[in-house]
Structure formats: C-alpha cells, structure tokens
Amino acid sequence: MKRNYNFKHWIFILPALVLVISILVYPIFYSIYMSAYDWNLFHSDAKKFLGFENYLSLFKDREFLHSLWLQLGFIVIALPIETILGFFVAILLNRDGKFYDVVRALLLLPVFVLPVISGLTWRMLLQPEYGMMSFILEKLGFGVKAWLAEPNFAYSMVIIQDIWRMWPFMFMFIYAGLSGMPREYIEAAQIDGAGFWKKITKIVIPYLRPTIATALLLRLIDALRIFSEVYVMTGGGPGNSTLLLSLYINKQAFEFFNIGYAAAMGVILLIVALVIAFFIVRGNIQFEGEKG
C-alpha cells in the first residue's frame, strides 16, 4: 500500500468530521464551559463564574446522589438478569429448524419497539382496574394495586420493563457467539447431554466470555443513559422513586432551568460513559481496518 502524504484522505473524512465536531465535540466543550457557571436560563445575562463549585455542590446534593444510586441499582439488577436469561435461552434455542428461526425472529421484536411505546404500554398494562397486567396480578392474589403508585413496585416495574425489552438483545448476542462455536463445543451445549452444568461452566462460558463482556458493556452504556421509557412510564415518580440520573438532569435543566448545574451533571455522566467506552474499546473491540 502506498504511503499517502497528499492528504487526499481528508477529502473523504472531513465532511463527517466537520459535522461531528460541530454537533458533538463543540457542544461537549460548550457544556463544560456552561458547567463552570451559576447559570439560570432566565438570568443568562447575570450568570456568575463558579469554577468547579457546581461539581462540588453535586456531591452535597442528596437528590443527585439518590438519582445516581437509583441508576446504579437499575444497572446492577437489570443487567445480570438480562444476561442470565439471554444466556440460557440462547442455549435452549441453539438448534436448527424453521421453528427456531421464527422464534428467534419474534424474540427480537421487543428490542426494537420504540422506547416511548414500550414505556407507555407498560404504564397502560399496570393501570389499576383496567390494566391487563394489574388484572393478572390481581388474579394471582396480589390484590388490587396501582403498581406505579408505590415506590418500590414502580422502581421494580421500570426494571422489569427494561428486562422485558432488552434480554433478547443479550440473547441475540450470545446466540451469535454460540452459533460460531466449533462443532465439538456445540454438542456440549445440548441441553439433554450428560454433565450439562459442567460443560456449561467449563466450556461454553469460557468460550463466550469476550462476547458476553462486549454485550454487557454495550448494554451498560445504554442503561447509563436510559431516559425515554422511564420518562413516559413514571416521570420519575411516585415521589422521586424512579428519578434516574438522566431524568434528574432533565429536571434541573428544563424544569428548574439551572442549566449550569445540569451541565455539570451531564459532564459527570459523560465522563462515566467515556470510561466505560474506553474499556469496551480496549478489551474487546478491535479496529478491523488497522491491519490493512
């Protein structure tokens, strides 16, 4: 391959780069700039320079810590369940045949359902007295309840909604990994073989580890920025019991109009996301054009 010093490549790269710099990189720097100010939208002409003070006050803000806690709880509960479900269903469905093809296609549907529709649908299902889910839960002996009216239930339901939507994502990933497994491994993964558990833990899991790690990290990024489903499903309530970090940022920015403060939170979230992104890139994803 010839060395190319005449910068022709920039002709191709520049349009994308210019666009991305103007709608992504520049805004990020602008956001960092905003985060250094005591800046209320109605008093833009009276904004005060604070330096790092916004960041310091964040860690004294109980609501911020609470929303961070909810966000972490969400991730810690939802992701393992999604992974385990996805893993076992992938093993169950790792078979050939038209039936299994159709099943796999159908299972993928929830992943692409619009988050807004998903959140609203779950809200509808959980309405007391006329929601399908409430009705079923009532018949199962849980009593007539407004599930989204009780803090712990509402939080659980938000998580269940996410599990419902996103375990098939883990499933698809793991299934893709499984189907690429060499022949002798595949037999090990058959459900009715002897020593099932042993094979799973000794052979299948080690083989799939990189796949699962990548999938988990991708989910982690998504889970960190979850917004729409929860926003339409509970709006953060009842009380603040489902006010995840992104919802709190939205509230500070666009309900309280403390845009400087909200920008500081956005920057923190951005840093967390970038650190995770860094691990994804380093450990698991290789830039395939590198060798070329």
Binding site: D45, F256, F257
Partner: protein, 426 residues
C-alpha cells in the same frame, strides 16, 4: 352624481386604509389550548380594526418557559407579548414592563382593573407591582355529582347518620363526612392529585392555606419560611383522611387518572381546572355528562383557599412595539372579544362575562369560576418557584403516603426551604 359618490367612496376607503391607526406587526407567544385556539379565530377582526398584524405562536405549555427563557432577555426580545403561568411571574418579573406603564390604547381602551374577576390581578403582582395583565380567570373549581346528592335514599341515609343535609360540600368537614358516606356506598368520596407534578403542590397549598398556614411569606420585601408546624400537620392528617375514601392508586393520580375515574362515575367530588371541565361534559368520553354541579371549593377552618393559576400577559421591556402590543392585550380583555369567542372555547378574565346568565346556560361552571376567584390564593411567590414547588411536593407526598410522619415531613419541608433560600442568597 353617481360618479361623484363612487369617487368619494374610493377616496374614503383609501383614506381609511391609510388611516388605520397602526401599520406594524407584533409577535405574541402563548400556550396552546382551547382558549388560545379560540383567540386565534378572532385575530383577523383585530387586524382589520387596528392595522396591526399579529403573529400568534402557540406552543405546548410545558415548553413555554424554556422558550421565554431563551427568547426574552433584558435587552433583547423576539416577542412583544408572552403569556406566563402565574407562579412563574416572579421569575420573569424583571423582564416585563409594569402594567401601569402600558399605553392607554387608541383603538381599544385600557381596561379598568375593576372589570377583572376578583383577585385576578394578584396573579400579575410581584413585590407590589403589577408586571402584566391576567388573561383568564383560572382557578380551582369544585365539581360534584348532583345525581348522587339528589338521590332521596342517599339524602335520607346521610341525614340520619350525620345530622345535616347532604349537598355540595361547603367546608372541609362536610367534604370529609360526605366522602366517608359515599365510600360506604361503593363510590369513592374524593379524587386526590398525587402525581409528581405541579397539581400535587397545588393540593398541598390548598390544604395548608385552608388550615391557615403557608410555606413562604414575604416580610419586609424578604422571603422567609413561614410554615406553622401544628397547622401543617393538621392539614396533612386531614388529607390522609380523605385518601382513605379515594380510588385505588390514590397515590399516583394525575389529570388523566382523575378524569378517567370521575368520568367512569366512580367519584363523588373533587377539584378541577376550568380548562379541563368540558371533558367531563363530553358524552363521548364521560358517563357523567350532565350530572355535575359546579361550585367554589370547600372551605377550611381558616377560610377559602382556592388555588389560582391565571395566565398573565407580560410585555417584555425589550419589545420595540409596546403600543401595538398593548392594543392587542386590551382587545383580548375586551367584552366584545370575550362574548364572541366564548362559544369557541375561550375563558375570560372578566367578571361581567363570568356572571352573564346566557353564558352560564351552556357553561354552568362560569359562575363557579367567579365564586372561586373571590376566595382564591396564590401558590408561594418566589423567583425559583419550580424548586420551591418540588420541595413542597416531595415532602407532602412523603407525608401523605405514610413514608414519614407528618411531623418530620413538615420539619424537613422547612429545612429544605431554608436551605434553598440560603443557597440562593436570601
């Protein structure tokens, strides 16, 4: 002769066209609902009368503040008039020209304050100055099922149990009794507002003020926390009592849930905002259309406390077209405009229209609006209202849901409010 007349006519029309008092365009930003849609229909008439072209921009009320925040500042404004929801008037007061300084109006006369519904102008007040003009009389009104009240069996049972006559609840005590009574009859006595939204703050203030206390007060031009522990706890306990007679899911009720419950015929009585009332009277979405009576809200031991939430028209200081903008405001407030547009969904701020019997025939709640306005109160007046409201709401919800005791909720509400005041340098 005929020719002379037609020439004269022509001259006259040309004269008229050039003599239109204004030849300019104003931009108006308002919330989007039935009222402003109706207003839009009246605009061509206004334009003809004044020569002022009006660009009326309607956006969802949830986006309105953001929009004002970025398009109006002390030295620059994209609009000549903007509408502001009452609690946010203090936050924006510094951007607006006081009503007293608005011009007198060439085509439409500046209205006298006395034509507005009682207390309506308080909505536009901040630190002793009227910074705008109210454009509707928006206030808690009370809706009650008259078919349930008029049922002879209910009447008799109620009388024998409580010793007085069943009717529209006029006091908090009657409200409690009647709610309890109907809960034994398979009807929910009351529908609260408990979602994580402004409506919940309104309920809290409605109760607090009914029991004679308020979260914030202005003393010598300074904002201070003024909540009285004992009265606040009483208010919370009373509301908790009402929740016992409320529908399943009483702790997660917003506008939708309340309207649905009431329209299913499951609720005896509750508050409602006038703008939402037509939905209860729409047979396509309500099983109780025609069975509702309207009144002012029941009164607590300390007097009436109907929550007010008028839309206020503000004129940015930076507007370059203030005279024309004032004309539009006065036209909006005029009797003719109101009378003409009410059938299209307009709600006026004027007493004469609210009390007009013809108007009340199709809209029996107009008189109730007037009555409620008489005892209406504001939510806490404070520039950082959204945060104030959030604190009140969070602690109120924690208390009424039983998560914490009323006493500790009240204490925490006061602490949080004090922290907020301190943070903001008050």
């Amino acid at each position: 002769m005929r020719r002379v007349i037609s020439v004269l006519l022509l001259v006259f029309t040309v004269f008229l066209a050039f003599s239109a008092p204004y030849n300019t365009t104003i931009k108006v930003l308002a919330w989007d609902d039935a009222l402003t849609q109706a207003l839009k229909e009246g605009i061509p008439d206004f334009e003809k009368q004044t020569g002022i072209k009006v660009v009326l921009e309607l956006i969802p009320s949830g986006n309105l503040l953001q929009k004002i925040g970025v398009s109006v500042s002390t030295d620059k404004s994209d609009y000549d008039l903007v509408t502001v929801d009452e609690p946010y008037v203090p936050a924006l007061a510094h951007l607006f020209t006081p009503f007293n300084n608005w011009s007198t109006g060439k085509v439409y006369k500046k209205p006298n304050l006395s034509v507005f519904a009682p207390n309506a102008f308080d909505a536009a007040q901040w630190m002793g100055t009227f910074v705008g003009m109210p454009v509707n009389a928006n206030v808690y009104i009370w809706i009650t099922r008259k078919d349930l009240i008029n049922d002879p069996k209910n009447k008799q049972d109620f009388k024998s149990k409580y010793g007085y006559n069943l009717g529209v609840p006029k006091t908090f005590k009657e409200l409690r009794d009647m709610a309890e009574f109907f809960s034994t009859k398979g009807i929910y006595g009351f529908a609260p507002f408990t979602k994580q939204a402004e409506g919940t703050t309104a309920e809290a203030i409605f109760m607090f003020e009914g029991f004679g206390t308020r979260p914030l007060e202005i003393v010598n031009n300074r904002v201070v926390v003024a909540l009285d522990d004992k009265k606040a706890v009483e208010a919370i306990n009373f509301y908790k009592e009402l929740l016992k007679f409320s529908p399943v899911g009483a702790l997660d009720m917003g506008h939708s849930e309340r309207i649905a419950a009431f329209n299913q015929g499951k609720v005896f009585t509750m508050f409602q905002w006038p703008a939402l009332v037509p939905q209860h009277e729409d047979p396509n979405s309500s099983l109780v259309a025609g069975k509702i009576t309207y009144s002012a809200p029941p009164v607590g031991s300390a007097g009436a406390s109907a929550i007010r939430g008028c839309w206020v028209l503000g004129m940015p200081n930076a507007s370059k077209n203030k005279d024309a903008a004032a004309e539009f405001a006065y036209w909006w407030a005029s009797l003719e405009t109101g009378t003409k547009l009410v059938p299209k969904g307009f709600t006026p701020a004027r007493s004469d229209i609210l009390l007009n019997p013809t108007m009340n025939k199709d809209r029996p709640w107009f008189k109730a609006i007037f009555d409620s306005m008489k005892g209406s109160i504001a939510r806490p007046r404070f520039p950082q209202y959204a945060e104030t409201s959030q604190i009140i709401r969070d602690n109120w919800l924690a208390a009424i849901s039983g998560k914490v005791t009323p006493e500790s909720a009240v204490k925490k509400m006061k602490d949080d409010l004090n922290d907020l005041l301190k943070k903001l340098g008050y």
